[in-house]
Symmetry: C2
Subunit: 364 residues, 2 copies
DNA sequence: CCATATAGTCCTCCAAGCCCC
DNA sequence: CGGGGCTTGGAGGACTATATG
């Protein structure tokens, strides 16, 4: 229901000086001054109305709102950001393409951000190398984000964060402690995470409790903090149970990697239990085992990580570790708002949850 | 390597009038004027340098760059956007949570946008109802996006687009023609898509060519343009082959929906071929069939849509329709840049590709 | 050819003005 | 006549563009 911008607008009294005729200025969106003129008030009053300031008479407010509606006015975010020094924009860098974990985290983060009145600008990277992250960060800072969230960080962020020098708060969605061992954490850098190590421990303990004497780990790329943490949790659980470990099989995050690892296990000797670092790896593994006629869970028990949407429908349905991405997104935003308010919020670590399905049912 | 902002900065000669002492202003990021002062030039010259304007002496440029580096200056995007009327930001609305299609499209769009110097602000909606889309659009326009991309549109966008009245170009990633039947397309609204109807036809024809006399369609939610188009393609292929169709089984997009549909088929009578509207539906269907001891492809042939990352590793590996999301993202961005340049780019429809795997191998 | 001054962008904050009781 | 509620005008804010030295 938006009228044409100039419908009924008061005629501007162009000064009749000998100034050269202006070029036929391309249609400029209506400004606060236009609204003010139409409503017969000052631009300041219009500002008060749009910012819900109390000191405006109901009648005046009505007139202003009518003018706003008639002109189709929207306030100019650039001018607003310029003077308030606040853009209302958060930046998010995610690594890992369309993988379920990063995608869900971003989704929930954006949801929480929207609820808090922010908007999220993204840089979705395929690879987490230093250069990519550096460029992405630069871009985001260039467009004036108030804070940056790095989802699914790889070791490359460490070096990059030195460079940023905390011109805005930075939030890592990752277990920091395990990540950047050694160096002190730069100021202005915070962290929230679901306990990856704990999740891996849960998965491994589940298999060990079922009587398996060895749990092979199919690990993710080791330049990911999360992948490192999952290795650590697996190792820890095995150590506590006094079970020996072979070196984890390291690869990417994809089903194809899981399939390749499965082939390798079939060659080298199939263990009775495998903990895969994510569900896609587990899916590929399941496929390799099925092709070889190895039964799951009768011959091999398999556990994944993520509980991605299809996991309950794999063959067999996959036991896995679920992360509460919604809670993670909320925690991320709370941390960020606290940091933006000048505080120094503590890190948050959420607890993951084991979801038991058919792929791990029977001990050998 | 960023010095503290005021290191070595020239002392400002505060005027000695009786003005009240300013409050200890919170540390303001360095402005162009600060850089200019430090480099001993005017702010305009600094502007020239950062915008790679030719008319600057090499020596001057050096001094300015040194000052920029020393102060850790970055240009203020708000001020820049204010005067140029260009934010460098595109808005993207996606519907469908973490589903592979929308996610991939967004990823590739962002990639193309970055290459073109844009940054993308997202609103990731779970549901595509009118209110959600309307709010999301409002938010994006409020932060000053130059154009809006709507990924995976549902019928709700139609009404919303009336409302927007083309204050910025809008791009639908969807087959428009099939979508908003009837009403004329609003000006400033463009469309790019992978031919959904064609993809569905390819899938159905593949099954029919293998000798199946009936292809049951497991459809997606019918408030999605894409779901409607896939139904149309399936129907068209069946009609051409002179094969009768039962009403498609309509549901959501999830594996659980596919599973439920599978159970229903098991009750009502299992056809020899099923075309599922996406891979997750097919996955759920495969699971239901496997549980009932129905073999795929021996007893039932199954084809999906999307070729999501795990599809090649389902049991059995899934025949499906692949969409070139990278090309889609590029096409989207080309269309948008053309529209922003004042043109009226024609719609783009890309061709999908059938990927044949084990799930459809044998005719009955 | 290079550099500077000046105007203009649109908004928010601050101080001052108006009005009416 | 003075005060509170409502409104106004003017001063930035950081940058680009258009003349001017």
């Amino acid at each position: 229901m938006v009228d044409r911008p100039d419908a009924g607008a008061p005629v501007r009294d162009d000064r009749d000086d000998g100034a050269p005729p202006r070029p036929p200025a391309e249609p400029r969106p209506p400004s606060m001054a236009d609204v003010a003129a139409r409503a017969g008030v000052s631009h300041q009053t219009v500002s008060r109305v749009v910012n819900a300031h109390p000191s405006v008479l109901p009648g005046t407010r009505e007139r202003v709102l009518a003018a706003i509606d008639a002109l189709g006015y929207r306030r100019n975010s650039a001018a607003r950001a310029l003077v308030t020094r606040r853009s209302g924009v958060l930046g998010a860098i995610t690594v890992g393409g369309t993988d379920y974990g990063p995608t869900s985290t971003l989704l929930e983060l954006e949801d929480a951000a929207r609820a808090a009145g922010y908007v999220v600008t993204v840089a979705t990277l395929r690879r987490g190398d230093e250069a990519s992250i550096g460029h992405a960060l630069d871009r985001l800072l260039d467009v004036g984000v108030e804070a940056v969230v790095v989802v699914a960080p790889t070791v490359g962020v460490a070096a990059v964060l030195e460079h940023v020098r905390a011109s805005v708060p930075v939030l890592l969605v990752s277990s920091w402690v395990a990540g950047l061992q050694g160096g002190p954490r730069p100021v202005g850098v915070h962290a929230v995470a679901v306990g990856q190590q704990e999740g891996a421990r849960l998965a491994t303990e589940h298999l060990l409790a079922a009587g398996h004497r060895e749990v092979v780990h199919l690990a993710g790329p080791q330049d990911w903090f999360d992948a490192q943490d999952r290795v650590a949790g697996w190792r820890e659980a095995c150590a506590v149970a006094g079970v020996r470990t072979r070196a984890p099989i390291t690869s990417g995050w994809d089903a194809a990697d899981g399939y390749a690892a499965g082939r390798r296990l079939l060659d080298e000797g199939v263990p009775s239990a495998v903990f895969a670092a994510n569900d896609q790896l587990a899916l590929g593994l399941l496929r390799a085992l099925a092709e070889a006629g190895v039964r799951v869970p009768e011959d091999v028990a398999v556990v994944g990580f993520d509980d991605e949407p299809g996991a309950a429908f794999y063959s067999p349905p996959l036991t896995t570790v679920r992360q509460d991405f919604a809670a993670l997104g909320r925690a991320a935003l709370e941390t960020l708002t606290a940091a933006l308010a000048g505080g120094d919020p503590a890190d948050v670590v959420l607890t993951p949850q084991l979801v038991v399905r058919a792929s791990s049912h029977r001990p050998s």
